[in-house]
Symmetry: C2
Subunit: 177 residues, 2 copies
DNA sequence: GGCATGTGAGACATCAATGACGCAGTTATT
DNA sequence: AATAACTGCGTCATTGATGTCTCACATGCC
């Protein structure tokens, strides 16, 4: 594969991420336009719309996996890990509307990472006992809300930034003291 | 309008609610089938797909408005009102996936009702100071999660039922003691 | 420089959803 | 019972998205 083509693929994925976030039913043509590429090229790089979506969700999954690693979910103090993970995710500027709603649930590995994180939070007494899946869902849901906050209420993100707000809110929701 | 037609309209709206919750892009034919009605009839009652969606969101809005009234948001102790409102909404068995995600944001009046509720919660010290819109979003997001919980974790809904879980979680999230 | 690969533009076939009719048969209303 | 309103079914036109293909041109690579 020529370096050229590689770049196209990347730009298409990039564009797909933002365009599909805005409208999950956007046509491949719109995605192509956003990527600065002809519709035909989208088809060349991805055999079908479905293939594109699949590649997209894999890409997102990889990124999330990297986040979990960078946040040192397994070793760092869990509250800190939660904060770092949130921070990194926000920095990715990923459109979570898509990644959470559309690209289906996070992959097994990401789920396991989150489950571990919440188990450790629980052991540390930062949250009350609860099923990891419940914790995960609350976390992701609140992340979605915090993510698209700034548009209408920048003043809310006072002290700790968006990550701070998210951590505070999640811990509260899950019964932390 | 004949009583007959009225019933059709109602059945179509009903069906649309559940079908669109499952797949927001479901065709009018699927909706018609679910309503036990021919596709043509859907078109007869609703000039266009858009018209159907509009009618649907108005219908939902009306229901929510009724909930706010029944919960005595203006007069009852706010925590109690929150609990009752949650309870009633869950009883409506409305598909919130649709009502929240698709039917756009709740109407002005519903928003105002919720804002009042959260303002009162704040005055009562049940939650920390925060913009009403933030409270609203957190509440709706968590409601969505609680709503589709039972499928995978019925044990979570212990003491106070789903409404109890929701209230506990929301108050915690918003900094209640 | 020359070859292989990638690309844009356009044409084309396909398919599903939408929306509009007409007609024959049913049902509510009076 | 007579009438007006509904409905199911089938037909048709239209539209937008998808996917495939070809051809001329460009661009990366050896």
């Amino acid at each position: 594969m020529r370096a050229d083509a590689e770049r196209s693929t990347a730009r298409i994925l990039e564009a797909a991420e933002t365009v599909l976030a805005d409208d999950p039913n956007a046509s491949l043509e719109r995605i192509g336009d956003a990527a600065g590429v002809a519709r035909a090229t989208v088809h060349r790089r991805f055999a079908s719309r479905q293939a594109l979506l699949k590649a997209l969700s894999e890409r997102l999954n990889d990124r999330y996996l990297a986040v979990i690693e960078q946040a040192k979910v397994e070793t760092a103090p869990p509250v800190l890990a939660l904060h770092r993970a949130s921070e990194i995710v926000f920095d990715l500027k990923i459109s979570h509307r898509f990644s959470i709603t559309l690209a289906s649930a996070p992959g097994r590995e990401v789920q396991d990472g989150l489950d571990l994180l919440f188990t450790r939070l629980q052991e540390a007494g930062a949250i009350a006992p609860a099923s990891p899946s419940w914790c995960r869902r609350v976390y992701l849901a609140l992340m979605g809300e915090v993510y698209l906050l700034p548009d209408e209420a920048p003043e809310l993100v006072e002290a700790g930034g968006r990550a701070g707000l998210l951590v505070k809110t999640v811990l509260g929701a899950l019964g932390g003291r």
